[in-house]
Structures are given as C-alpha cells and as structure tokens.
Symmetry: C2
Subunit: 254 residues, 2 copies
C-alpha cells in the first residue's frame, strides 16, 4: 500500500523549520506496512494545497498531511483540501464540541477564528487533539484514506499515535537493521551491495550511507530493510542478508 506525505507551510519551504514532521510520519507509516511513495511540500496557498492533494490522491492508498490547521488566516488546509476534492464543508458537531470544551474551560468565547476549526468536510471524522485545540480530520475519498494533522509536532504526533491501529496495513511487516563498516569506501563496496540485492530477489533493499568522506578514513553504514507477511520473517530476511554482507566485508579486509 502506498502513502504520500503532504507538508503544508511556507516556513518549511523557506528552511526556517526543519521538516521533522515528515520524518516522524514517514517512520510511522513505514512501520505500519506502507511504502511511503512521495513527499510533497506546498505553500500556505489554496491552489498549491489543491495541487498537492490532487497529486497525492491519484496514486496513494493513504495521504497524511501536516500543517495549516490552526485559527489564523493562513491555516487553510482543511478548506483547501475539501474544495479541491469537491467536498462541501460543514460545521462538524464533534469538532465543535471539542473546540468549545477547550475554550470554555478557560472562559473564552468561540470567535470566528476558533469556530473555523470546526468546519470539516461533510462526513469527515473529527479526531481529538489531546495537546492543542485544532482537531485532526479523517475521511475516505474514493478509496483513499486522508488524514489531516496539525503542524505543531506534539499535536501531530499525539493524533497520529491514536490512528495507527486504524490505518495499519496488517499484511505487510517492515524491518530494518544497519551495520557500520570501517575502512571501506562506498565505491569499493558497491558491487557487493548490488550482488546481495540481486541474491535476495527483490525482497530486501540495501542502501549504503557514507557517514564520512569517501576517501580518507571511510565509514560506511549499510542499511538492510525488508518486508514480509509477518514480523519474524521480515527480521529473518534482513538478518540473513546482513550476515552475508558481514562475511564478505571481513573477507575483503583480509
């Protein structure tokens, strides 16, 4: 199953904020049995958000967005996504209750800016935000699950956590493990990586990450990942490839 991560926010594009939401979501989805296929980062602009969601739904089973859920003028993700998909917005009773409870606990009124956070696509589900105020949003569009999360990392993580059991792909288990090889250059080890990939017949993926300069004192991290129908098989697959790589590395150093 394919997933796309859609990040909404000028601050990411300008490099003001490092997109740690992206890596967190990517990690969670990978370990939930998804192939994270593409990532799209778009501006706080309805037509750009429309471009992103339209691209994403075209080839994904799941789209997870983050950013643009708050009360300010540039928090426009929910409306822009709904408009792009042709779904009308309505006041969502659950969302309104969640938001009202948050503000009334502080004796605060529901201003138009705050009410905006309760306008969700028709038939969408409001997801409780245990950390902040804007509820997450979940709905299905023509077979694609769409999960809209806030940009504040603690809020995004808290809502995503609650959704893992519901989005998990039960038929795919992912496992990865790495080893560090010292004193060997990526270019020297490249044929071994290619050969081990071929041997495993497409079931494992091997990637080498040079963590220092290729030339003097090379340090190479070899990451092996694989998927299988159950966890034990995935672990077994990855570890047997790692064993083989280790032996070939030791032989090369002799």
């Amino acid at each position: 199953m394919k997933a796309t991560i859609l990040t909404i926010g000028n601050e990411i594009l300008k490099g003001r904020t490092v997109n740690t939401n992206f890596s967190h979501i990517g990690h969670v989805l990978t370990f939930s049995g998804y192939e994270v296929y593409r990532g799209l980062v778009v501006r706080d602009d309805p037509s750009e958000i429309a471009w992103g969601i339209t691209q994403a739904v075209a080839f994904s089973d799941l789209v997870v967005s983050s950013g643009g859920l708050g009360p300010t003028f540039d928090d426009m993700s929910v409306k822009a996504i709904a408009d792009a998909l042709g779904i009308p917005l309505e006041t969502n009773a659950d969302a309104l209750r969640m938001i009202r409870n948050k503000y009334s606990a502080q004796n605060l009124e529901l201003t138009p800016e705050r009410m905006k956070m309760a306008m969700l696509p028709r038939n969408a589900e409001a997801l409780a935000n245990p950390v902040g105020t804007a509820p997450g949003v979940f709905f299905n569009y023509r077979g694609v699950n769409i999960l809209i999360l806030p940009g504040v990392p603690s809020e995004m993580k808290a809502i995503l956590e609650t959704m893992i059991p519901r989005i998990r792909n039960p038929s795919v288990h992912y496992y990865e493990e790495s080893i560090i090889l010292k004193g060997i250059m990526e270019s020297t080890f490249a044929p071994v990586v290619a050969d081990e990939m071929k041997k495993a017949g497409g079931n494992v993926y091997i990637k080498s990450h040079p963590s220092s300069a290729e030339l003097a004192n090379p340090v190479l991290e070899i990451e092996v990942s694989g998927t299988a129908r159950d966890e034990a098989s995935a672990i077994n697959l990855v570890r047997s490839t790692l064993e083989s790589i280790k032996k070939r590395y030791e032989k090369m150093l002799e």
Copy 2:
C-alpha cells in the same frame, strides 16, 4: 523567481533521515532572492526521479536536487534526470579529471562504479566537490537552471556555497525577523495578524508559530518577512510592521 527543491532518497521517505538538506537549501535560496515554491521528495527510482524533475521544470526558474550522486547502484539521479529531459549522457572531461585525481591520490583504480560519476548530461558543468568525490552538476534546460547536488550534507553545502554568487537573484532581497509574544493565544491574535498583512498591501508576510499549547501559558512567535529591491528597504519594511504589531500586543495586554 521560483525555485523547487527535489530530494531524492528512500531514507528520507522512510523517515530514517531527517531532511536537513531541504531546510538548508530552502534557507539559502530564500536569502538568494528566490521564492521556494514547492518541495518534492521521491524514491531512488528512475521513473520517480523523472516525475520529480518533469514537475519541477514546468514552473521553476531554478531546480536544486540533492541525493543519489554516489557510486552505488541506487545513485541514479544524474542519469534519471538527463533521461527524463531527453539529454544524452557523456563522459565529462572535467568530472573525469576530478574523480581520477581523488582516487589516484589514494592509489585507487577507476572502477566502473567510480567512472559512473563522470557521466554527465551533454554540455553540463561539473562542479568541484571539495569534501567528497561525486562532482555536482549544473546546466540550463530551456531557461531553467538545474543544480544537482550530493546527498551527504557536508558535500551538498560545500558545492551549494560555491554556486550562490552564480544563482543569486540580484533584484530581490529578503529579510525576516521574529518576536515572541507571551500570554496571548494564536486565535486571539489572529485578527491582528490578518489586519497587519492587509495594511502592508502584500509586501510583507506574517506567520504566527505557537510554540507551546494554545491554551495554558501560550507562547507565540510572530515571524514577519518581506522582500524588496534592496536590503535596506526589506529590513525597513519588516521592522516597521514588527513595531506596529508590538504596539498592538502591548495594548491588548493592558
């Protein structure tokens, strides 16, 4: 002028690696007078890289990619980008010299994996990599500048640094500055932000970043950014808006 950042690498999509290259490139391009318009993250797969570069050249003045420049089988960025744009690959004499010098200094042969790094699009320029071995690549495709950088951050930064004077947009100067407002909620301050944006008539952009929970003890960062034809005007524009925001905040607390 519009720029797109294209990130190539499964490790980013899987969330194994945080995309700090993206934020570095975004920051450099913003302060070089570009509007960083979109970010695309794609897998180590020729057809995905082709999708990314095709999307990017369609609306950008500059495309900067990172990742996939090394000697391993999954380092396929240069060939995939060239193929997608219909440009033949050729052995680049400068690139070959750079690579040969690096390896011969260590008494190492030019294996096919190492030679691959010298195959560049016809008429492209090889950019010296002062940190690693794979040269960067720079060329113009139908009016779009394309800069292909390695994924190892130190190598990417070193090559990008040398290119700043050549890609700089001289007619746009960007400036940004932030203030921290304590004890005010994002939703309470939202109308002020909207009004100040309107007052500045599209010349400044104001974004509020709630750095703690919206409700109890709110801390709000207000970021004001603007562009102008020269640096002094950009600074002036941003600072006068910040002054006005500060006054309104102080009034609200009275």
